[in-house]
Symmetry: C2
Subunit: 271 residues, 2 copies
């Protein structure tokens, strides 16, 4: 489907766009099913939070309407929204008069091997560490060189995702996923106040688990915690949940809580 | 002057450009005098180092020729080169077949108040800290949200630059400059192995000072070191050297080594 820039069909952005110059902006990757953007409210909520923290004056009502119109036209697939701080000349200083630029792109539904969801995956243990920057932590911003470098660490098909630690050795997330572990019946995911992307599916899973009365915790996770976990899985808003079977010398079974949450998430993504 | 993309006049980049999507690329800002790119070899050297570290397969011979041709046409002003990892579809994975994209933009000579160079400037003490990421440290890459946030901390004309520390409180650099201090005759600038941009003018000043027999040191700098400095200045490849007269409660005179180096740098930028 043809891309839109500021609501009009377009293929490009001007060279003065601050997204290109500095990665000065945010993005959202949204699953679209039957013309409907899945978990739209959570995507919009994260986007608003990002705009607030980066002082991007976006029209959120307009963005919502555009996403819905674009998704309706796309039907089934993946919608990507990029917001940038519009144009500026040389220098980091912000031109307060420049309107935020809205880019919408559509692509076909993600085509991952079905075994990722059923049998589970292995994580590549990335050497690339996430830098600790509280001002950017949690946001899905356009400064993603760490993820680019980490993703280039493996090419084999044996590893479907990578495991990323922060500079202090805490277990944070995958390269394009959040990570959960289960230990003694508690669902645990990393605190993302120093680094990492606070995924929309992560938020949904935390909320669903709490509603089911499952104990949940958001906390620092060590490699030892990970090793001792009863179950491990990764998630994102496009593929849902993949059980994690192994990473380096560690291994885990696919457990009952992972399967239960997969059922809930599959219903979300398949309706 | 009209911009070039891959050697042709153009105003835009495709929406799939990885510079826009992830800040996946590098840039150089080059002063141009009389059709000549100033400190070209140092700019090319840093760019090559950046390409090596980010695994960007650029044609450096072609880039050199394009910069020279563009500068000759520009005459006097500032040339900006952006290299991106070209196009890709969804996902952080690299498409090894996608050629690196070259963007060249030109603008008028920088117009800073002349007093910045003669009288000196004050630095705004930025609250924004630089995250420590050795994989990216020193590079002039396109992930510059920290600089955007820091530059937005002050709007008044009283502060011409900002002072940035790293997460551990070390003095690193300005928002768009490197920082030097002089103490007991030694010229000192921050070690940039954890964060910061290794500026071309910084490298030139270090080399010139060494050639003159001035003791130089690249080391960690504390706020106490800064406070006790005999002279402080900032530099970049466009404006040269600005003496720093104050930052928060700290103040410094404009010293003789600053004036001596200004003379050398002015000759470079004015020829």
């Amino acid at each position: 489907m043809h891309s839109w820039v500021d609501g009009q069909p377009a293929d490009s952005v001007p060279l003065n766009d601050r997204g290109l110059a500095y990665g000065d902006g945010l993005f959202e990757t949204v699953a679209v099913k039957g013309g409907r953007p899945v978990l739209l409210e959570r995507h919009l909520q994260r986007l608003e939070e990002g705009c607030r923290r980066l002082a991007l004056a976006a029209d959120h009502h307009l963005i919502r309407n555009e996403i819905q119109a674009y998704a309706a036209a796309l039907g089934d697939g993946v919608l990507k929204l990029i917001l940038t701080r519009g144009d500026s000349l040389r220098g980091y200083g912000i031109n307060p008069g420049a309107p935020v630029r809205r880019v919408l792109q559509g692509s076909a539904p993600a085509a991952y091997p079905p075994g990722h969801e059923t049998v589970g995956i292995r994580l590549f243990p990335c050497a690339t560490r996430l830098a600790e920057q509280p001002l950017l932590a949690g946001l899905k911003h356009l400064n993603r060189l760490e993820q680019v470098i980490a993703r280039a660490e493996w090419q084999d098909a044996e590893h479907a995702e990578g495991l990323m630690l922060d500079m202090s050795g805490r277990v944070i997330e995958g390269v394009f996923s959040n990570l959960f572990l289960v230990r003694d019946g508690t669902l645990l995911t990393a605190d993302l106040n120093r680094c990492g992307v606070a995924g929309v599916m992560r938020a949904e899973i935390l909320a669903r688990a709490q509603a089911l009365g499952i104990p949940v915790a958001v906390a620092d996770i060590s490699l030892e915690h990970l090793q001792q976990a009863d179950e491990v899985f990764v998630c994102n808003s496009v593929y849902g949940i993949w059980p994690v079977r192994g990473c380096a010398a560690m291994s885990w079974p696919v457990g009952p809580l992972t399967r239960k949450l997969q059922g809930i998430v599959r219903a979300l993504l398949d309706i």
